[in-house]
């Protein structure tokens, strides 16, 4: 890797499409970007890496006109421009897909209208034709290999699951051909098949001469896709590196300490006592009944594509949905939670898949957010004890290294990954009998992923059970003792990590091992 002192990458003589010089940005007293100099060349995919809270999304907000309060200069094709709004940025050929998917979706409009949102915002085309809209939306989605029915396209976008909502925002961005396309963690809510499709599109756009900025915490994707890597730490550019990437150095630049890219589990634990049992529960109407034993003393990783029934199983365990049939037991006794509160009282906690919709309380501080499930524990005679609340929040922040000024900071002002850490941390602070985590690593950096993994391990080693649901093979391999692959609501594979190899798992998971190894050690 080269720690370049020049802004341009070596051997890259194409004039940059977009250049940043001395760009700084602060939120109130918190300086988030300091003096960033960067160039984005046409026909290049630049990966922007950095730990949670490093300032990646903030940089993207400045670049895309979403936060015009930046200092310094940004030039497009050599001329300095003032990016005062997203519309202005788009006029200059800069278009972005932001990290918070929910912010990119207008509830109340149909899915098709959401895909075509830029048209609605524009001055032209006051009269809309439903049929033409549907066709246009379908064309846009087809680029991502999606074939959604008219019924889906005409439904309210509010009801989309997060993965589909993400696809809508991507389809919208890809409709135009900007000069600079910025994607902020576009795959954190996608499964590998959808992500692969997106990568094909991005490669094609690169060949057309587009400059692309790509943010992700999944290094396998970067390895497969990027031409160069820029590392941001605490708001400053730490390094540029062209291919081939030297990951140990990159990780060091990101985190400020040595970290292994791939971590092999040293001990694969075999669980003992049965904590929970799922007996003959069909996960969706057409699915065959599923039976699964969850043991204490081991971390169970459940791998499955979207639609395999992961979230359905998580919701049944967490008391969010009633099983359509069959039964559950917990600690040997029948377990039929009627609502999440019952599950929590029984010691079962659920980290939901969509933090924005299912966990974040707009405007609430970290302390208050952490405290919500524990109001009774934190009060005496119904009166809340601030000290207990603050203690718990401080412990969560310290445990998962949440980047924040204080525990009184609003969760709105945290970076995406740090919000996720707060939510995961608050549930782990319950010391649950059974922790159910649906996509807990969404948007968290490698250090936090390791931290959460270690927590789950500790939880399991104290005799309790943890179940992690994910659609990412490597995440599952990293944290699980035992691995279950779910296909169409049924168990396709069930075994301990040291008895399975990656190929077997991937084959069971998507039929055949077509994905490239996502982590490269």
């Amino acid at each position: 890797m080269t720690h370049d002192s020049t802004a341009l990458l070596e051997g890259d003589d194409r004039a940059p499409v977009v250049s940043l010089r001395g760009v700084s940005l602060s939120y109130g007293s918190n300086v988030v970007l300091r003096d960033v100099d960067l160039d984005f060349a046409p026909g290049r995919i630049t990966a922007l890496l950095g730990a949670n809270g490093a300032g990646k999304s903030t940089l993207i907000k400045a670049l895309s006109g979403a936060n015009p309060r930046y200092a310094g200069s940004i030039s497009v094709a050599g001329t300095e421009v003032a990016l005062t709004s997203p519309t202005v940025a788009r006029l200059h050929g800069i278009s972005a897909v932001h990290q918070k998917v929910a912010d990119g979706i207008v509830p109340g409009l149909t899915v098709a209208e959401n895909v075509l949102l830029d048209n609605l915002a524009g001055a032209r085309g006051v009269m809309r034709s439903r049929r033409r809209d549907l066709a246009a939306a379908r064309r846009a989605l087809a680029l991502l290999g999606l074939d959604w029915s008219d019924r889906v396209l005409s439904q309210d976008a509010r009801d989309l699951r997060i993965s589909d909502a993400q696809l809508v925002t991507l389809a919208r961005a890809l409709r135009h051909t900007p000069r600079l396309l910025i994607l902020d963690e576009p795959t954190s809510a996608l499964t590998s098949a959808e992500a692969d499709r997106l990568f094909d599109v991005l490669r094609a756009l690169r060949a057309d001469g587009l400059a692309i900025v790509y943010v992700s915490h999944r290094f396998g994707e970067i390895e497969a896709l990027a031409d160069s890597v820029v590392v941001l730490r605490d708001g400053t550019v730490q390094s540029h590196s062209p291919r081939p990437f030297e990951w140990n150095g990159i990780l060091h630049d990101m985190l400020g300490r040595a970290t292994e890219l791939a971590q092999k589990r040293e001990h694969v634990h075999r669980g003992g006592t049965v904590v929970a049992e799922v007996q003959g529960v069909p996960l969706f109407p057409e699915a065959r009944p599923l039976s699964l034993t969850i043991r204490g003393g081991e971390v169970l990783g459940v791998l499955g594509l979207i639609g395999a029934g992961k979230s359905e199983l998580a919701e049944v365990l967490g008391g969010l949905a009633r099983p359509a049939g069959g039964s559950l037991t917990l600690n040997g006794a029948p377990y039929a939670p009627r609502r999440p509160g019952d599950a929590i009282a029984a010691g079962v906690v659920l980290v939901p898949e969509d933090r924005q919709r299912q966990a974040i309380l707009p405007g609430w501080s970290i302390t208050q957010t952490v405290s919500v499930p524990f109001l009774t524990e934190s009060s005496r005679w119904g009166t809340l004890r601030r000290d207990l609340e603050t203690d718990r929040a401080a412990a969560v922040v310290a445990d998962l290294e949440v980047v924040t000024e204080s525990v009184q900071t609003s969760t709105d002002d945290l970076s995406g990954g740090n919000q996720q850490k707060v939510i995961v941390g608050r549930w782990l602070s319950a010391n649950p009998r059974l922790a159910v985590l649906d996509e807990p690593f969404r948007g968290v950096d490698i250090a936090a992923r390791r931290g959460i993994g270690a927590h789950l391990n500790t939880l399991a080693q104290s005799g309790n059970a943890a179940v992690v649901f994910s659609s990412d093979v490597d995440e599952i391999l990293e944290v699980s003792d035992r691995i279950v692959v779910l296909v169409a609501g049924e168990v396709a594979l069930d075994g301990y990590a040291d008895t399975l190899d990656r190929a077997t798992i991937v084959t069971a998971f998507i039929g055949a091992d077509t994905t490239p190894e996502r982590t490269t050690a």
Binding site: S239, L361, L375, G382, L384
Partner: protein, 354 residues
């Protein structure tokens, strides 16, 4: 790649940003209080009658029903809802209290009990429509408003009820407004009029419940993100129901005070209450810079309206100019909360069903 040495220009940014934020937060938080104090000061200096203790209590007494109904709306707003039926509920309470005492020949205590049960039932009806039947809160409470106004008119045959009035069969009504009931308006506890005591007690109670207890926190959580609250183990339906029932109860307390003040079951009582109650609860969101419905803010909003109305009357402003004054106050309050505030204001009244 050039790196800024740490803490060079940034220290200045830090201080400037911080100071600006503090000033802005201070204006938002205390601006409204300052407006109230200035107004009180102005009237106290120019009008000798204004600064008497009698007038101070008189103003609070005058505004108590509005303030209490406003606290009710505020409670519905904590769970992200709204209640358009508070005025009608208060009017219903006025007529039912009168009917119980005059036609039913009961003592005031019974009337109070009947009215409170009625208020709770109205709240429960609202909750049923909103929580179970999933009708949007604006529409549901609008419907309830018509239903209970109609029901009230049916019960009292469309007439105001006064002591010893002539009934439909020609006989005169057996009962009258009893002294214990009238005490609600005319009584004093120490030097303080009863309505003022009730107003302050309810404000303190609601402040304590909302800000200091787990139940209050749960109510706000439901209002902030009902799905997230449910996943955190909060019984969302229960809390939303409780908020509407509480609102119904507060509206009927407001009605009791009105009935005791008027001394008869005026059918038109409570008609103007809805808009005033809505105004003070919305003003309450913005004052003190809390950006969410809260008890003290609502009480303060009511006090300001009382000060304005009394003061304007004393300096000889005609009654028809007073609505204009109220409008200006509301405008100023909303500017503070939505325009000058850097904090996102959470409340979006009357927009949620799920």
């Amino acid at each position: 790649m050039s790196r800024t040495p740490p803490g060079n220009t940034t220290v200045v940014d830090r201080i400037r940003g911080g100071a600006l934020d503090t000033v802005s937060a201070g204006i938002v938080r205390w601006g409204f209080v300052a407006v109230t104090v200035l107004l009180i000061g102005f009237f106290a200096l120019t009008e000798p009658n204004f600064r008497t203790a009698d007038n101070m209590f008189g103003m609070l007494k005058f505004i108590a029903p509005t303030a209490i109904a406003g606290l009710g709306v505020m409670l519905a707003m904590t769970v992200g809802g709204i209640d358009l039926s508070v005025g009608a509920s208060a009017g219903f309470a006025v007529s039912i209290a009168a009917w119980t005492m005059v036609v039913g020949n009961q003592v005031g205590g019974v009337a109070v009990g009947v009215v409170l049960v009625g208020g709770a039932l109205i709240g429960a009806l609202n909750a049923l429509l909103i929580v179970v039947a999933r009708i949007p809160d604006l529409l549901a409470t609008l419907t309830t408003m018509f239903v209970i106004v109609g029901l009230k008119l049916l019960i009292v045959d469309g007439k105001s009820i006064s002591s010893q009035m002539t009934l439909a069969d020609g006989s005169s009504a057996p009962g009258r407004f009893t002294p214990d009931f009238l005490w609600l308006d005319r009584g004093n506890i120490g030097p303080v009029p009863v309505p003022v005591v009730i107003f302050i007690a309810l404000t303190v109670l609601l402040w304590f419940v909302l800000e200091r207890t787990k139940w209050g926190r749960a109510l706000y959580a439901v209002g902030a993100n009902a799905e997230a609250a449910r996943l955190a183990g909060i019984r969302v339906l229960l809390y939303r129901t409780a908020a509407y029932v509480g609102c119904g109860l507060l509206a009927s307390v407001a009605g009791l005070l009105l009935a005791a003040r008027i001394g008869q079951g005026d059918v038109s009582a409570g008609n103007s209450l809805l808009l005033d109650a809505m105004a003070v609860s919305l003003v309450g969101v913005s004052v003190l810079g809390m950006g969410r419905p809260n008890a003290w803010g609502t009480a303060l909003g009511a006090v300001l309206i009382a000060v304005m109305v009394t003061g304007f009357t004393m300096i000889g402003l005609p009654y028809y100019a007073q609505d204009f004054g109220k409008g200006i106050v509301l405008l100023v309050a909303l500017l503070f909360s939505f325009t000058f505030s850097r904090k996102r204001t959470v409340v979006v009244a009357g927009s949620m069903t799920n």
